[in-house]
Amino acid sequence: MNLRRRQLLQGLGLGVGAGLGVFSRERSALAGAPAAPSRIVFYVQPHGHIPNAWNMAIPGGPADQFAERSLLDLDAADLSPTLRPLYGYRDRLLAIEGLSHTSALADIAAVTRAGTGDLNNHQIGVADVLTGSRALQRTGTYCSGGARTLDQELAMRTAGPGRFDSRVYGFDYIPNSVVSPFSYLGPGQATPMVSDPNAAFSDLLGYAIPAPATTSRADLLRSLRPSVLDAVGREYDLLAPKLGAEGRQKLEQHRALVRELEVSLGSAGPMARCDATFDNTATSVRQFMSLIRLALACDLTRVVTFSAPVPQCPELGYPADATFHGYAHQSILGNTSCGQMYSPLAEQAMTDLDAWHAGHVAYLLQQLDSVSEGAGTLLDHTVVVWVTELATPTHQHFDICTLLAGGCNGYFNTGRYVRYPRTLPTPLPNQPLIGPAHNRLHVSLMQAMGQPDTTFGMTDAVAADGTALSLRGPLTELQRQP
């Protein structure tokens, strides 16, 4: 199927890997794949972190070079306030200080130079965090994700019969349509997100069809679902060639997904071999954490993105008439173009919000660690990536705090707090020096998932002083050395 489609695209003059990557769903087998497949979970937290509460000191570590410290010998109180809830998993953590959303900074610089487009640091950050690419500017409306996101690229690469490409769970960010979602299938095409845990559970169970032994008429009809999908797929096959290129591409994409559903229904799903129970009485965030465990343990997908909610203030003991969005802008000491507005209460509120998220991440790690798999646990074969679209709640895009957890089949060298030096010039004029691009973290994650790529998203940028900036290659310091 893929070969045929690729031939078709090439026949159209559209090489796979050209700018139309959005329509190509190239897959590659994991070279020398380990017994347990590698999985990846993105926990995307809105609004950035408070570096003062997240960062940790590295005694004796130089500021102008890569530095690290072990987390294994520390007491809980030695961890920073944000990371403290994760203490129980310190041997599985890889905390990374100092990366930069370099592609976002380059985008902001380019939009500023062009003098047209949606130039909001927050929206560009949302569009950038998982794409590592310039935002899509659209006539008369706000900008949006400009490329397929890392989770969806990995979803395409790791998909297979009987599995969902990915699952995207979670909640709308700020509840309005101005701020875009985090995960994109392609430019401007948000990946559908499921916000109701019960619907998410039904989706996972939906890949099970009755065994042929049952003979009731209803079961017989259900067992013919693949046959119906086969007929449907043929309609797409036959209609698509009659259309112009744009319509043909849309129908091709649709047909590929129909075929995948057909194949998935026809395969004996792995559900029988894993624990498919689901407790729908916990909080919805916790329900999603256990659904992620279920989906990965049963190998119903290898990629999950969770878009974390922003809670109401009273949930964390703050007044009902306040909002975390309001606190965000007041949470960092410093001047802004409309004056000084720092408030210690706001900093505390955003710190507490960070710790609230850390608690959810810890619960997710506990869920994954509870599944025995091969010689270890599911967590050993997974990497959980805790990222946020801003470095700070005040829309800064450098000095980012990033947390990886889980070894991803031994790719990452965990149990450490690492710091990258800020020695690179930045694309924006009159701004402090920055650390390496997060695009390079994306490359590391691609490689951890068995992909050969050496770049992701933007590959090169230019600093305001004219220096060429490379966004290429993995962050080798994160890897376990052989």
Partner: protein, 548 residues
């Protein structure tokens, strides 16, 4: 097509700057007799259109359905062709819904007889004839045209296979499910017209029936439209005007009367979670029921006004309102006998006028604990004037300004004046505040107020960036001025064309937008006339001949 595709690739690689045309994809654009026609991207049914279509095709059949993944809105509209890439969730939901509908229909003997068009399939010959009848009849309704011989044969062959595996009714069910998942139903496939590539031709007759019905009814064509298509009578401007006039008199047109203003002006913003709460200082009586009532009041207002021939200016200035007990409370009217019934009233002339002075707008563009004049101003600029506001620069304080302890009473306006006083802020806030300050007579729940923090409200504002720029005082004067603005009429025209075409009008269509705007303004903002004008316009009834 190769060249155009390459240009898309380049555009993406360059970060897709919003160029002059804003054309999102490699569509062809062509001109005929001086009238330029924009691209015609393949359109999928929006969630709303898909559900309306099922409702209209199978009235009374109401299976419990899983949610479709929400359409990705572009500029507030949920039918943008550029944002309709399929996903595995969408395909799985289409399958589930098709199976649920097909099962519900096949479970009812009368419904099966109606779908099949015959009642006796007891012999193999009769079964074949009934299967053919079923595929032609039901397939024709679902695919909105006569099936080709090839299509009919495919579906009948499948039908017979399924009949052998299950039974006749089972084959009806499975065939129906397959048709509901087929591209002929889910997509609005238009045949590429004959002609030399790059030239302009009329949209094929059945495709035109579908264009009209999804534009004016958000649903499938009726038998009258399909019959007109079969006679090729959806070609001339006159024929299209006659059909549009007929369709706008039908109840199904109420869908566009609400759907378009709702999406254009963001009228369902009031339903966002954050508006389920107001602080007690703003309104101790506000509950989720107030939020729902404010939304319903607006829907009744807009839909009734347009159904009864109302003009754009009426939406901005009419004091007609339909209120229940909760809205009567918010508008300071006497409590009605039955608080749950909706009754038509005339709102107080000194306090209220159209949409901009209604709770749904005023509260939806406020925060929980206070109004935000810039947010209200932003709403007016973006929605009503089609002016893309510049986003706040990085690092500015977007929190609600509050009086410091011991400073004494200050109105919300005074707090915002202080906050936005720096010159760096005034570039945008001069205009934003100019609109928003004029609405300070309405609190964050949309209730009328003459004092704020014990001080008298100052509702003096300034309109800027329009053809009706002027100082004004209060929401009624603001509404009256904007109701006469050609900028507002031009914005409505451009956005209705966006809604009709499933894409933003492109640069070559500016003359068409200008001509439609001019007629719309001359008609005094007659919305039904604008709908008819667009339905009959060259850009709606013609398409570019693409190279296949």
């Amino acid at each position: 097509m190769g060249v155009a595709v390459v240009s898309l690739v380049v555009a993406l690689a360059a970060g897709c700057d919003a160029g002059e045309s804003g054309s999102p994809a490699p569509y062809a654009v062509a001109a005929d007799a001086g009238i330029a026609v924009g691209p015609a991207p393949l359109r999928r049914l929006s969630d709303g259109e898909y559900l309306n279509a099922l409702h209209d095709l199978f009235p009374g059949v109401l299976p419990l359905l899983p949610d479709l993944p929400p359409d990705v809105p572009v500029a507030g509209f949920d039918n943008a062709a550029e944002a309709q890439l399929p996903s595995d969730v969408l395909i799985a939901r289409y399958e589930a819904i098709a199976n649920l509908y097909a099962a519900a229909l096949a479970a009812d003997t009368d419904a099966v007889h109606g779908l099949v068009g015959c009642a006796d399939w007891s012999s193999p010959a009769l079964a074949t004839s009934c299967a053919t009848q079923f595929v032609s009849q039901t397939g024709g309704r679902l695919f909105r045209r006569t099936l080709t011989g090839d299509e009919r044969e495919r579906f009948v062959t499948r039908f017979q296979g399924w009949q052998q595996a299950v039974d006749f009714e089972g084959a009806v069910q499975l065939t129906l499910s397959s048709m509901l998942q087929s591209p002929q139903f889910i997509y609005r496939v238009e045949p590429v017209p004959a002609g030399s590539p790059g030239s302009v031709a009329s949209v094929e007759a059945y495709a035109m029936a579908t264009r009209l019905s999804f534009f004016l009814w958000e649903s499938v064509p009726d038998d009258v439209l399909l019959a007109a298509a079969s006679r090729d009578e959806l070609r001339t401007e006159g024929q299209l005007r006659a059909q549009a006039t007929r369709m706008l008199a039908d109840d199904r047109a109420r869908r566009v009367f609400w759907s378009f203003p709702r999406q254009w002006l963001g009228l369902d913003r009031i339903l966002l979670d954050e508006h389920s709460v107001r602080t007690p200082e703003v309104d101790p009586g506000w509950t989720a029921a107030s939020q729902a009532s404010a939304s319903e009041e607006t829907e009744l207002f807009v839909e009734n006004l347009i159904t009864q021939g109302g003009h754009l200016s009426d939406l901005l200035t009419s004091r007609r309102a339909w209120v229940n007990g909760e809205m009567a409370r918010i508008y300071g009217l006497p409590a009605p006998g039955d608080p749950t019934a909706w009754t038509e009233v005339s709102l107080p002339p000194a306090e209220r006028s159209g949409l901009l002075t209604r709770a749904s707008f005023l509260a939806a563009f406020s925060h929980r604990g206070a109004t935000s004049p810039p947010v209200r101003g932003n709403g007016i600029q973006l929605r009503l004037l089609c002016q893309m506001p510049i986003s706040p620069p990085p690092g500015v304080d977007l929190s609600q300004p509050m009086a410091a302890p011991g400073e004494g009473p200050q109105t919300n306006r005074m707090l915002f004046e202080t906050r936005t006083k720096p010159a760096a802020c005034q570039g945008c806030h001069g205009a934003l505040n100019g609109f928003g300050f004029g609405l300070e007579n309405y609190n964050a729940a949309g209730e009328y107020q003459t004092t704020d923090d014990g001080l008298p409200v100052d509702a003096a504002g300034t309109i800027s960036g329009t053809d009706v720029d002027r100082p004004f005082n209060g929401g009624i004067a603001l509404s009256a001025a904007l109701a006469r603005s050609s900028v507002v009429h031009g914005c409505a025209t451009q956005e209705l064309l966006r809604y009709a075409l499933g894409r933003a009008p492109v640069a070559v269509e500016r003359p068409t937008v200008a001509a439609l705007t001019s007629d719309f303004t001359r008609s005094g903002g007659d919305i039904r006339a604008l709908l008819t004008d667009i339905a009959a316009s060259p850009t709606f009834r013609q398409r570019v001949v693409e190279e296949n």
